[in-house]
């Protein structure tokens, strides 16, 4: 699924709103997450997951082809960790906690 498909789906569900308004809503939500991360904030969406920024200090790397040492500048990398509820949804809720006693139907079963 791509963003325009997400927008279309929400637009179909909300015929009272303009398509461009839905587009703005979707953009704003992801932009707000991006802006937060850019400010160094953490974004915590219970049940869905958390976005954070990890700092990678500068280091001396190596060009794997020539073996030459190269300086790699420090950088900041966005990171996402799926929330428990989402992880459970993906694996069929309760599948692991009760795996031994009574297996739950998992995906594809």
């Amino acid at each position: 699924m791509i963003k325009s498909e997400l927008v279309q789906k929400l637009a179909d569900e909300n015929p009272n709103l303009f398509h461009r308004d839905i587009e703005r809503i979707v953009s704003i939500v992801f932009q707000e997450i991006s802006d937060g991360l850019a400010r160094g904030d953490r974004v915590e969406l219970r049940g869905f997951g958390a976005f954070s920024v990890k700092h990678r200090p500068s280091r001396v790397g190596r060009n794997p082809r020539s073996g030459e040492a190269v300086h790699i500048e420090e950088k900041w990398a966005p990171f996402f960790k799926a929330g428990k509820e989402l992880r459970d949804r993906l694996n069929g809720a309760g599948r692991f906690s009760q795996a031994d006693s009574q297996p739950q139907p998992g995906p594809g079963e």
Partner: protein
């Protein structure tokens, strides 16, 4: 760098401030967007949001792990995990602001 935590309430506020819809409606949209992303991933499908990033589902095979406390070998069951790959736009935005903030210190 403010170092605070953004929650659903902040996303709702952002929607509410920029559109002429109620706070309740704004909150429902935020929820609906997150749920649609989750539902799509649940189906095993990839979700690609341009200039933000891509969420995808990966299948992990059964492997043997070890309880670090007891040293006991335990099987790690096959499972599905989510990976997020940030787009270049997002990576650049984060690196630009962090570099500027560091330079200003």
């Amino acid at each position: 760098m403010t170092g605070k935590t953004i929650t659903r309430a902040d996303l709702t506020d952002a929607v509410y401030r920029s559109l002429g819809i109620s706070r309740n409606e704004s909150s429902a949209f935020v929820e609906r967007i997150l749920d649609e992303v989750a539902q799509t991933l649940e189906k095993g499908e990839t979700v690609k949001i341009s200039s933000f990033g891509t969420f995808s589902v990966r299948d992990k095979k059964l492997r043997m792990g070890r309880n670090p406390k007891t040293g006991e070998e335990v099987p790690i069951e096959p499972r599905r995990v989510i990976t997020f790959r940030a787009s270049h736009v997002l990576k650049d935005q984060i690196n630009d602001t962090h570099r500027q903030a560091n330079a200003a210190e």
